[in-house]
């Protein structure tokens, strides 16, 4: 089983929680995570039917991807607590808490999860939380929010955030630069994962790829996607090239050798290697494996 804290989340695809047709086919596109949405994708009059549909899908269908359910906010709306009551017993891998602004909201959900885990005899940590920062207030509290033990990832939800900023999305992304940076720093400080926001113009693949490349280069672990065709592009962008993989494998081999032979200082291709470089090398190898590259063959070639 994948460790929920470190598993690859290059893509998290939104799936409208009240569409059986989309739920039925959601798993075939290869997204690392599927996020069933019972929040903004669902009309106020259908919140009840959506939560039952998602809960029964999770209980019945076997998904290869990680399963996440975006619930309605537990205190800002009258629907969130009912969502949890119906959804948690269906054992999703994660609950996405939208519009998180305060640690107390994460604690509230953590308490509900713990209750259900105990009732069902599931190990602690069976269900985890991803928070989404979607307001300035949330951004100001993001460091504290990220330190919550059950929260294993944080995301930026840009549409609400830019409405709060009183601006709009641009091609350069300048309006989100500060928020992206802050959320990323908070995530790295708390040693949790960080997901970038959606790119809603499905037709503009060039703009999409530019944004994914930029957020990858900033340090994001992955991207929220709204259409299956965006998945392939993200996975390609997050796949290490041959040079990166070769170097990463050399680093790991040198590191293993140093442990075996009690060597102190390490060097690969004339450059000194230390802890963070080994961690990064392992990450590159994991990404290559996830992309279907025959890493063992590559290792033999070196």
């Amino acid at each position: 089983m994948n460790d929920p804290k470190t598993r690859l989340r290059r893509t998290m695809m939104f799936v409208p929680g009240n569409s059986p047709k989309m739920i039925n086919s959601a798993d075939i596109y290869g997204a690392d995570s599927l996020m069933f949405d019972v929040e903004d994708a669902i009309a106020i009059t259908e919140k009840d039917t959506a939560r039952h549909l998602v809960a029964n899908a999770l209980k019945t269908l076997k998904f290869h991807s990680e399963t996440v359910v975006r619930i309605n906010h537990p205190t800002q709306t009258p629907f969130g607590m009912d969502d949890l009551k119906v959804i948690l017993p269906s054992k999703p891998d994660m609950i996405r808490l939208p519009k998180v602004e305060d640690v107390s909201e994460v604690q509230l959900i953590t308490d509900e999860i713990e209750k259900v885990e105990k009732e069902n005899g599931w190990p602690e940590g069976t269900i985890n939380i991803i928070g989404a920062i979607e307001s300035v207030k949330g951004l100001y509290n993001v460091r504290e929010i990220c330190q919550q033990p059950r929260l294993i990832a944080i995301a930026l939800g840009a549409e609400d955030f830019i409405a709060n900023l009183k601006t709009q999305r641009t091609k350069t992304g300048i309006e989100l630069y500060y928020a992206r940076s802050q959320i990323l720093m908070a995530a790295r400080d708390a040693e949790i994962q960080c997901m970038d926001t959606v790119f809603s113009d499905v037709k503009d693949m060039e703009g999409f790829e530019r944004e994914v490349t930029n957020s990858r280069d900033m340090g994001f672990d992955g991207k929220s996607v709204i259409h299956p065709k965006q998945i392939t592009a993200v996975h390609r962008i997050y796949t290490p090239n041959d040079k990166q993989l070769t170097h990463a494998l050399k680093v790991l081999a040198a590191f293993e050798d140093s442990l075996k032979n009690h060597k102190g200082v390490l060097a690969v291709d004339g450059k000194m290697i230390d802890g963070p470089i080994v961690v990064r090398a392992q990450r590159i190898v994991d990404q290559a494996k996830a992309a279907g590259i025959d890493v063992e063959k590559k290792r033999e070639e070196i």
Binding site: P20, N24, L53, A57, T60
Partner: protein, 92 residues
Amino acid sequence: MTKILAKSAKAGFEEKNDLVVEVSPLQNGSGVVIDLQSPVKNQYGRHIEALIKDTVTAEGFFDVQVNVLDKGAWDYTIKARTIAALERGMKQ
């Protein structure tokens, strides 16, 4: 505990892979009466009816008329729409 519907209620949509389930209260002792319309009634009619009946009784209801307009829904959808319709029918 036996539950009783307060009113008729519907859940679901007339869309591909979905179904519309309408539940109505029946007199005590009537049982679960199902009227199913489905493009796969010949192949799966008995399975769908048994699934609906099991779902209704598992939810604690025993005297219910269930009208179903199926559009090729999978089992989890049939169950979810039935539960949602019953939940709606419980509310005054």
